[in-house]
């Protein structure tokens, strides 16, 4: 009966083995759905870039609220809707902290995806951190083209590039009737990469598009006195001015233009005047200034009204809503759609899916290029009597562009 006893033993041990293995792998077979989809963003809430940082944060937060009000994002892998948990950390406008805190979001909080912060200066750091951590990154307010030439795979930027801005600028000028059209271009080049890229595009395209650059001046972010530059523009007879000044400079240049009695027909300052507080700072002197129009509260795209309503419920006194709000809202829309399309929270699969997303957002249609930049519709806003209205492109404009009269006739 020995063989019988030992075969019983074998069967018993095999059974124990099978049971143990089943118990061990069972939990993974019924993969538990995570309680939330964790997303992370490091944004400048203090320091030099804080003004735009809060707009970026507000856009994300409103988007998360809308998504979670509907129950969350449907993730096929778990067959249910999961709400989003967005962790936002301050980077104090410090590049070192951007990378450290993004690393925390990855290694400690294990976020599924990163969302960008504010300004090229800090976003460039965020983009390379995303690339090294192999976490997809979607962000706005990056205007410099340099990162897109580096073969990064994990970055997605549904926002305008310097080339978009310059091309649209010339399109806009072309639309002005010939008798009134300014053709003498005054260019003020800010010594940052974005400023130089714009400058290069302008110099390439001006002649072909029928415009002459009559003054081409350089200045740097710390510059506070523009008297020399303005006098040059004035004496060269430039009737349209293009630049990308910092927000303080966008105020000071205009004040000094008034003092030196220089009033070109078109003043296009892409950054600065789009801030909602520009009118409070400048008063009537802000009239006619044209600036960035990546997004506007009046845009007829689906979902936009709701964004504006919720924003104004939170900030009732704001005269015009800053562009990052709509743009960061759209970024979150794209991400949510990508998660839904991918059906999973796996970072690699998510990355591949974001690249294929083609959708309509609150700022219009978006489609990504291979290098992570996007095909978007770019436009301009103009200050008219206390309101920052969209004047270009014509499909979404709510007011006609106005040419500036001389200072004494205003």
């Amino acid at each position: 009966m020995d063989s019988g006893k030992s075969s019983k033993k074998v069967i018993r041990w095999t059974w124990v083995l099978v049971l143990t293995m089943t118990l061990a792998i069972a939990p993974t077979a019924f993969a538990q759905a995570p309680a939330t989809i964790r997303l992370g963003a490091v944004i400048a809430l203090t320091g030099a870039m804080a003004s735009g940082g809060k707009d970026v944060r507000d856009g994300y937060e409103i988007a998360v609220k809308h998504i979670n009000d509907a129950g969350g994002v449907f993730v096929k892998e778990y067959n249910k809707k999961i709400p989003i948990e967005l962790i936002i950390l301050d980077d104090e406008s410090d590049s070192v902290k951007t990378t450290t805190r993004l690393d925390k979001l990855d290694s400690v909080d294990k976020v599924v995806c990163y969302l960008g912060g504010f300004s090229s200066d800090l976003n460039v750091v965020g983009m390379s951190t995303a690339e090294k951590n192999k976490v997809p990154w979607i962000g706005v307010t990056v205007a410099t083209e340099a990162p897109f030439k580096k073969g990064y795979r994990y970055i997605f930027v549904p926002f305008s590039l310097a080339s978009d801005q310059v091309i649209t600028f010339f399109d806009f000028l072309d639309s002005i009737p010939k008798e009134q059209r300014p053709v003498k271009l005054g260019h003020m080049e800010l010594q940052v990469d974005w400023g130089k890229e714009c400058g290069d595009h302008i110099r390439d395209m001006a002649k072909k598009r029928g415009y002459t650059i009559v003054a081409d001046q350089k200045y740097a972010p710390p510059t506070k006195d523009f008297s020399s530059i303005i006098l040059d523009l004035k004496s060269a007879g430039a009737d349209v001015v293009f630049s990308v000044p910092t927000p303080p400079q966008s105020i000071m240049i205009v004040k000094q233009m008034k003092e030196l009695n220089y009033a070109p027909k078109v003043t296009l300052f892409i950054r600065g005047p789009d801030l909602s507080t520009y009118w409070a700072a400048m008063g009537k002197d802000a009239n006619y200034i044209i600036s960035d129009g990546n997004w506007h509260e009046s845009m007829p795209y689906p979902g936009n009204e709701r964004v504006v309503k919720d924003y104004r419920a939170k900030y009732p006194d704001v005269s015009s809503i800053g562009i990052p709000v709509g743009c960061s809202y759209a970024a979150m829309q794209i991400l949510a759609k990508a998660i839904e399309m991918a059906g999973t929270l796996d970072r690699e699969k998510l990355r591949n899916t974001i690249a294929k997303v083609e959708m309509m957002t609150v700022r219009g249609p978006i489609k990504f290029r291979e290098n992570g930049s996007a095909f978007i519709k770019y436009g301009f806003r103009q200050w008219q009597d206390g309101k920052n209205v969209q004047i270009w492109p014509k499909e979404v404009a709510i007011a006609k562009p106005l040419l500036a009269p001389p200072w004494d006739k205003r």
């Binding site: 301050d90 104090e92 590049s95 990378t99 450290t100 925390k104 990855d106 460039v124 990162p147 400023g195």
Partner: protein, 313 residues
């Protein structure tokens, strides 16, 4: 001797960390602490020991970062590039040192401040764009070599400063700090020693700059030249305890950890609360954080002896 053993034990623990810790974030924080230790000790040599309050260290830091990045992108291995970086800071310091030391006291401080402002504006104009790492670096990224470089440089720095703490060179520095005229009169060539101090200080700052460049993969060229890098080491070394070996280390630990804690939990108020905590620390610990160490251990040997004209501890 006991301190040396304790220190070695700590270093070994830190060196073994990457094998044990899975959360990369902890390594990150240690790298940051090392970075600030290096930078504040570099200031400490010139400011804490030699008494020349410099506000221009961001220039040495920045040049270190610039040259490191340049050599590294050329294909030179990181540790060699680091040497190159610190040598360039050293060269810059010897050029600046000669005219700079005609100035004394507050004039020297503001003169060096002006130099760092010149550096920062000039670099912004010449290099207005982004400094990218060598290609392939990001796809094969690994924090561990950066961690070990941080540890190595920090240990070298602390070693150098503790050597200074008990050497004749260090004694000369302290004499210049406490009573410069008396030092001259007993035959110490104060000018020569000030220049040595500045070059040592710049050497360390250059190493710090190289470490920064190795750690932060992409950044705008002007960032390591920003004035914050001049002010932070002064604050950290001072609040930790200037003129000591442990002071800047304690200061860096508190600075980094506290700021992280606040940033994670306090949102927009984090820097404000930090400022308030900072002021309270100064009011209640006027000798610096090192005062806590002294209270606990009753140890007074951490501080350089013979500080006439100052409160004898």
């Amino acid at each position: 001797m006991r301190q040396l053993l304790l220190f070695l034990a700590l270093v070994i623990c830190l060196a073994l960390m990457p094998l044990v810790i899975t959360k990369v974030y902890v390594l990150n924080l240690i790298i940051l602490i090392c970075l600030y230790t290096i930078l504040s000790h570099s200031w400490n040599i010139l400011g804490g020991y030699t008494g020349q309050i410099s506000l221009g260290h961001s220039t040495f830091f920045g040049i270190g970062a610039l040259i490191f990045r340049y050599l590294w992108t050329l294909g030179i291995p990181p540790y060699l590039a680091l040497c190159g970086a610190s040598i360039s800071s050293l060269l810059l310091a010897s050029v600046i040192g000669f005219p700079a030391f005609k100035l004394k006291g507050h004039y020297f401080a503001i003169g060096t401040l002006a130099l760092s402002m010149i550096g920062s504006i000039t670099v912004q104009n010449i290099f207005p764009g982004v400094s990218f790492p060598p290609p392939q670096f990001l796809s094969k990224y690994d924090l561990v070599p950066i961690y070990y470089m941080a540890l190595t440089v920090a240990v070298i720095t602390i070693g150098l400063v503790s050597f200074l703490n008990r050497s004749k060179l260090g004694l000369a520095f302290v004499c210049i700090r406490d009573e410069e005229d008396a030092a001259e009169s007993i035959g110490i060539n104060t000018f020569k020693y000030k220049v040595i101090s500045m070059t040592l200080s710049a050497l360390i700052a250059g190493l710090g700059g190289g470490l920064f460049s190795f750690y932060v993969a992409s950044y705008y060229y002007y960032v390591p030249f920003e004035l914050g890098w001049s002010f932070d080491p002064v604050l950290i070394a001072s609040i930790g305890g200037a003129g000591t070996v442990a002071g800047p280390v304690l200061g860096s630990i508190v600075f980094v950890i506290l700021k992280e804690l606040f940033a994670i939990s306090l949102g927009q108020m984090n820097v404000l609360i930090f400022g308030i905590v900072f002021i309270f620390t100064v009011l209640f610990l006027p000798k610096g954080l090192i005062g806590i160490l002294e209270m606990i251990q009753g140890v007074k040997t951490l501080r350089m002896p013979l500080r006439r004209g100052h409160d004898p501890s």
